[in-house]
């Protein structure tokens, strides 16, 4: 996790809030550093994490996780982390037909129906076990990323249904958290992506949006991070607070600063 980002979000692994849907969004840049942050954050917070990794292989996340101070292989062996590797599973489903239902079995079908097998997988992975041997703090579902599901033929409504079911079970029932990454296609006129993004933005408690700079590529500033707090859990706090920072990603950390008002300052 990035301590700087924790400061901006005003959270610590010990005091992480529960029952929240966090939406990670990127536009014209790569927002995967946010996924790495939340993955390591919740593992350090001693939560049980179900990670649906659809974009990269497990070893990629593991190597970055080690830079951020967590070992995914150890967490997986301990039972704290359950990973669904999309790329590897896709090859297995496609070339070696399975008898039992697989979470990603919609890949084999011509019309991808719904994501019910995937939801069943998440539910089985995060179901709180009552034997009480290793009490994890709260269940967390992390998805990287939902836009890939659109590319694989799942409709945006089916993806929204999946998130709704997960929220009802993980957030409401089990007081856990859901974090998902969605790409904002910007001016690419991707209607399905817009439907998904708008639908999720409405439901989220916290939105982190990584944007590329409007002025183009810059060596010192990789992008702009907008943090939007929505739907506060306490009715007394003011609604919809938002902050904007500019960030630069370094090898093991991230450097954030306030956006400068002068166009020529460094």
């Amino acid at each position: 996790m990035f301590p700087e980002l924790n400061n901006l979000l005003n959270t610590t692994p010990e005091g992480a809030e529960q029952g929240k849907l966090t939406l990670l969004c990127d536009a014209k840049t790569d927002g995967s550093f946010l996924v790495h942050h939340f993955l390591s954050f919740y593992l350090k917070a001693n939560c049980k994490v179900c990670f649906v990794a659809l974009v990269q292989s497990f070893s990629h996340y593991n190597m970055v996780g080690q830079k951020l101070g967590v070992s995914l292989t150890t967490a997986r062996e301990r039972g704290q982390l359950v990973v669904l590797e999309g790329l590897k599973s896709a090859v297995d489903i496609f070339f070696r037909p399975q008898e039992e239902p697989h979470p990603l079995q919609f890949l084999r079908e011509a019309n991808a129906g719904d994501l019910q097998p995937l939801y069943a997988f998440v539910r089985d992975a995060l179901e709180p076990v009552d034997c009480g041997e290793a009490a994890w703090r709260c269940p967390v579902l992390l998805v990287d990323d939902l836009s890939v599901l659109l590319s694989l033929g799942v409709g945006p409504v089916a993806v929204l249904d999946f998130v709704h079911y997960c929220r009802a079970t993980v957030c409401r029932e089990w007081k856990g958290n859901v974090v998902a990454l969605v790409h904002d296609s910007g001016d690419a006129e991707d209607e399905e992506s817009d439907v998904l993004l708008n639908g999720l933005s409405h439901q989220s408690h916290l939105i982190l949006r990584a944007e590329g700079l409007a002025t183009g590529f810059c060596k010192d500033v990789h992008g702009q991070l907008r943090i939007l707090w929505r739907r506060p859990l306490q009715p007394t706090t003011p609604r919809d607070r938002s902050l904007t920072y500019q960030y630069k990603i370094q090898d093991k950390s991230i450097f954030c600063c306030e956006p400068s008002s002068e166009p020529y300052s460094l």
């Binding site: 995967s32 999309g86 496609f94 033929g153 296609s185 991707d190 209607e191």
Partner: protein
């Protein structure tokens, strides 16, 4: 010559290795690192695959794209297990060159090739590959190689020594362990190099039978067959580590030409809302899954300028690892622009993957232009020209 000396002792000490791999004459001339001998040869074997080198940043295994200038822009080369997507220029004049460089580099480095095309027979594509350039230092080393070993039986070609050297170049230690070569586009690759290389061809009209059964999956039949073909080769030849008998690891270079064009049976370039709109993206996803679990690298050229639906282009970019776009000046107003008068087009590095890392090597130079000279394809920054004006 030091190179020839280490090569000689290397082959003698790892005698069993040579015997086992004697069928593939490239492997016996593998140059070993100083620590790689005996017990350690297991893990070092991966590093010492011909034509690869580890990345400076994260130790990721890289292969050359065939254009050293492009390797530099991509942070050292193309990572093994990833997809390089070339967005074709408007009249498809320059993107086939990058495709051919990639394949030619594979032949020279001794990698296995898999060439897929719906338009041209892969055997014809291989015939038209550019010839590798032999520079002077190369020639000297190969000369001394011949003198010290004295094992070439055909000494009849004393005058035409260049031709005698060419087959040796493929098996020679200097060439196969070098990363990135230069090619002469005006000449064809020598026939001997093609014949000694291991290649598999996929020509769509031959593979699609007239009475095809409609698959239940939403992939078009052409993509389906191609995926099965690739998976078959990877599995049979052991590129995914499934065949433990294979002692010597090698890289499989996959080249797919004009993916997404109507010749592949995909109408994504013809209409905006097509029935098979997810076929291409699903294909890319599963292909990437195959590549990640095997020792292979893939180049795909795609006519993205023909795709009607911009959303699909964005999705295709997200599903690929490295994306390079070519924009030629032919027929555009940039042709008469004095800024670009020395160049034939612009090259855009649209995406570079962050693999096993939070950051990546990105070149500071953004305005890159390419130029096709008589023998070479060069990439330069066109910023210098601007200063002159």
């Amino acid at each position: 010559m030091a190179a020839a000396g280490t090569c000689g002792t290397g082959t003698r000490s790892t005698g069993s290795m040579v015997a086992a791999a004697s069928t593939n004459n490239v492997t016996s001339f593998q140059r070993r690192g100083p620590r790689a001998s005996g017990a350690d040869s297991g893990c070092s074997r991966l590093v010492s695959i011909a034509g690869t080198r580890p990345s400076v940043r994260n130790g990721q295994l890289l292969v050359s794209t065939g254009l050293p200038a492009l390797d530099q822009l991509l942070g050292g080369g193309l990572a093994v297990g990833t997809v390089l997507l070339i967005e074709e220029d408007k009249y498809n004049i320059y993107s086939p060159l990058l495709f051919k460089y990639f394949l030619a580099e594979g032949i020279v480095s001794g990698h296995a090739l898999l060439v897929a095309s719906a338009k041209e027979d892969p055997a014809d594509i291989l015939q038209k590959l550019p010839a590798p350039l032999i520079d002077d230092s190369y020639k000297k080393e190969c000369d001394e190689d011949v003198c010290s070993h004295k094992m070439e039986p055909d000494i009849k070609m004393k005058i035409a020594w260049r031709y005698q050297l060419l087959p040796k170049m493929e098996a020679g230690p200097v060439s196969s362990s070098r990363f990135g070569h230069y090619y002469d586009i005006s000449k064809r690759i020598p026939q001997e190099l093609i014949e000694t290389s291991k290649w598999h061809g996929f020509f769509l009209p031959e593979k699609i039978s007239s009475a095809f059964n409609v698959e239940s999956c939403s992939l078009t039949p052409g993509y389906m067959k191609l995926l099965q073909f690739i998976q078959n080769i990877i599995y049979k030849e052991g590129f995914d580590g499934s065949n433990p008998q294979k002692k010597q690891k090698n890289i499989l270079r996959i080249g797919i030409q004009n993916l997404g064009s109507p010749l592949w049976g995909d109408d994504i370039c013809c209409t905006e809302n097509c029935d098979t709109s997810h076929s291409l993206t699903k294909f890319l996803y599963i292909l990437r899954g195959l590549l990640r679990t095997s020792l292979s690298a893939c180049i795909i050229t795609m006519p993205t300028h023909l795709i009607q639906n911009k959303a699909v282009i964005a999705r295709v970019t997200n599903l690929s690892d490295t994306v390079v776009g070519l924009e030629s000046f032919i027929g555009s107003e940039k042709e008469t622009n004095p800024l670009y008068k020395d160049y034939h087009g612009l090259i855009h590095i649209r995406q570079i993957p962050r693999l096993n890392n939070l950051i990546y090597d990105i070149s500071d130079v953004k305005d890159l232009a390419f130029k096709l000279k008589k023998k070479l394809f060069t990439i330069e920054s066109c910023m210098d020209v601007r200063v002159g004006l």
